[in-house]
């Protein structure tokens, strides 16, 4: 489903260019659960952003089910992120002034889902992550684990194929981490493709495949 070939990404730092990705080629099939690991600065977050259409390539090609993502303009990329991807971040990134319900509704707003259907789907998504009775809590009234569960509900609300998670348990205690990982396992069993950046081995064991990055190149596959 995802085919990345010879992906290059450079950043300008002071006077010199830093190559973050040096010809990365990856193929990921539908329904796979892939962990991306590597030391900091290895380019794993950049790879994740490129795969999630949050960042663009300087070289190489990116095909998503035959569509040339690297040739799309910003509007098409926004549409793609909206329909095909769900994002879960390390710092949850809920919008503070919106309650749980409205946070979950957001991707459906940009997807032009009618209000009644939107609310129904948001309620169902919150139900699934075990927050059925916390629709109108602001993020600040929720614990870290609860916030991340809202974020997962938001990520799946628009029914995307691919969930992109960037260190989703990085800010959580181990009890909450376990709950979150169970949710990802559920999503995987429902057929979602999951790409997860992590540096914790006990998180990576949930994945079917681990892609290791070192200095912008793919290391050994486990």
């Amino acid at each position: 489903m995802i085919r990345l070939t010879g992906a290059c990404k450079r950043y300008r730092n002071g006077g010199s260019d830093i190559e973050i990705l040096r010809g990365v080629s990856v193929e990921i099939g539908k329904g796979e659960f892939v962990a991306i690991m590597g030391p900091s600065g290895s380019g794993k977050s950049t790879l994740m952003n490129v795969l999630g259409c949050l960042d663009t390539l300087d070289g190489g090609t990116y095909e998503l089910q035959g569509l040339r993502v690297d040739r799309m303009d910003s509007r098409e990329l926004a549409h793609l992120r909206n329909r095909r991807f769900g994002f879960v971040f390390q710092l949850f990134n809920l919008i503070p002034r919106l309650d749980a319900m409205r946070n979950v509704e957001l991707p459906m707003i940009y997807g032009c889902v009618p209000p009644a259907e939107r609310r129904q789907r948001a309620a169902a998504a919150l139900e699934r992550v075990g927050l059925g009775e916390r629709h109108h809590h602001a993020p600040s009234q929720l614990s870290g684990g609860q916030q991340q569960r809202v974020a997962i509900a938001r990520a799946v609300a628009n029914d995307p194929d691919i969930i992109i998670a960037d260190e989703p348990t990085g800010s959580l205690d181990s009890a909450s981490s376990d709950e979150i990982m169970r949710l990802f396992a559920d999503l995987h069993s429902q057929g979602k493709t999951i790409l997860m950046v992590t540096h914790e081995n006990d998180v990576a064991v949930h994945a079917q495949r681990v892609i290791r990055l070192r200095d912008g190149r793919i290391g050994e596959a486990a």
Binding site: D55, R75, R97, Y110, C112
Partner: protein, 422 residues
């Protein structure tokens, strides 16, 4: 792919994005309130200036009206350098001129005409009745005068043709003369007053006229001190047949200047060019007043616009700050599928809301100020004038223009950089 969106979808997106803008404003109430206040003061200033200039115009025109807006005056031009003409005596207009003018068809553009004979400086201008006395302004006129000058007789009657033909010793007095001589309690009609040791019968009283503004700036006499008599009577007292001024009322839709000039030309021909005549028209005075008032209005509007401009800068500031503070949020919204257009729309709507509320608040503020000023100064201000919609449009325009740059910056942020922003 967006082409697949129907119109209904698009409207819903507007509504939803508008709602997002609304929540964001609610999140920083105090700063939003300050920006709203800025716009409100700007709009209030602009509208207030507008209403005040309108009110001022009404005052000035109401006073100009007391002369008759279509009045023209024809008199001998005394500012001449031609020595031959300058040394001639007399007013250049006499009863024969007036008679021939009336019979001639030269001046059909003039609807009505009256001679004006002014009480000469050699004559006493103190009218007496019993123990009362009053300084009066003596004018000899005919039966058309009252209508030409928009005067109204509140008691008694106007002059008739017979009063003028027979030079009857009858007078019509202004409101102040009546008060001075008879007091408010006594009916002056049929009573006698004495002027220059002669007796006159009071046959009418003129309605009071307000020229306080014009008098205060030194033009126009107090209309309420007038004492009118048939011009034939005033001429008889002085033993002349001279007329100082001809006052006419021009028919509607005709150039006052041309109509008056035709009378002046007639007089010049009649005297074989022995005199030159000047014409004065109310039209010109109205024009002058108009120009002055417009100048004042422009200055006022420019001054008020500065405050609106500053308010616009306020919005620019608050929106730029908001974009900075919410960089991360913008990144999240983009990650969730918000397009550049959606983000732009949200920030523009935030600016638009601020200016809309500011505009409405400004109109209310302006209205209150208007009522207060009207009450204190008795200036005829009409708060209804505020609601011409223009001020509101301008305010919203200012808001949108100010919001444009921050909104553009927000929309073009790269999602990955925005998400990384601390």
């Amino acid at each position: 792919m967006n082409a697949a969106l129907t119109h209904r979808h698009r409207w819903r997106l507007w509504m939803d994005v508008g709602l997002q803008a609304w929540y964001s404003l609610g999140d920083r109430r105090f700063r939003t309130l300050l920006s709203v206040l800025g716009i409100a003061i700007g709009v209030a200033a602009v509208t207030l200036i507008d209403v005040v200039t309108h009110g001022g115009r009404q005052v000035v025109f109401a006073e100009l009206q007391t002369f008759g807006l279509r009045s023209v005056w024809i008199s001998r031009d005394r500012k001449l350098v031609d020595p031959l003409k300058a040394q001639r005596t007399g007013t250049g207009i006499d009863n024969t001129d007036y008679e021939s003018l009336r019979q001639s068809s030269c001046c059909v553009a003039i609807a009505r005409m009256s001679p004006l004979v002014l009480g000469p400086a050699t004559m006493s201008h103190i009218a007496r009745a019993g123990r009362g006395f009053s300084q009066v302004q003596i004018e000899g006129v005919d039966e058309a005068y009252v209508a030409i000058n928009n005067d109204r007789i509140v008691r008694g009657r106007a002059f008739t043709a017979a009063d003028v033909d027979r030079a009857r010793p009858v007078v019509i007095i202004g409101a102040k003369v009546r008060d001075d001589l008879f007091g408010p309690a006594v009916d002056p009609i049929g009573r006698e007053l004495r002027l220059d040791n002669r007796g006159f019968e009071v046959i009418g009283v003129l309605a009071s006229k307000d020229r306080s503004l014009l008098t205060s700036i030194g033009s126009g006499q107090d209309a309420n001190g007038r004492l009118l008599m048939p011009y034939t009577r005033l001429q008889a007292m002085q033993g002349t047949n001279q007329i100082d001024v001809l006052q006419g009322e021009v028919r509607e839709g005709i150039s006052a200047k041309l109509a008056a000039q035709s009378v002046a030309d007639f007089l010049a021909r009649h005297h074989r060019e022995a005199y030159s005549y000047r014409v004065d028209t109310m039209e010109e005075y109205v024009q002058t007043a108009n120009n002055i008032l417009q100048g004042v209005a422009v200055i006022g509007i420019v001054a008020a616009s500065v405050s609106l401009f500053v308010a616009g800068l306020g919005i620019l500031n608050i929106m730029s700050t908001a974009v900075l503070e919410r960089t991360r949020e913008i990144g999240v919204r983009k990650a969730l599928g918000g397009s550049e257009r959606d983000i732009m729309l949200q920030f523009l709507l935030e600016a638009g809301f601020i200016s809309l509320f500011g505009g409405v608040a400004g109109l209310v503020l302006g209205g209150l100020a208007c009522v207060a000023i009207a009450r204190v100064t008795h200036f005829p201000l009409d708060p209804a004038m505020l609601f011409n919609g223009l001020a509101l449009l301008v305010a919203i325009g200012v808001g949108l223009v100010s919001g444009l740059y921050p909104a553009y910056r927000a929309s073009t942020l790269k999602p990955v950089e925005a998400l990384r922003y601390e």
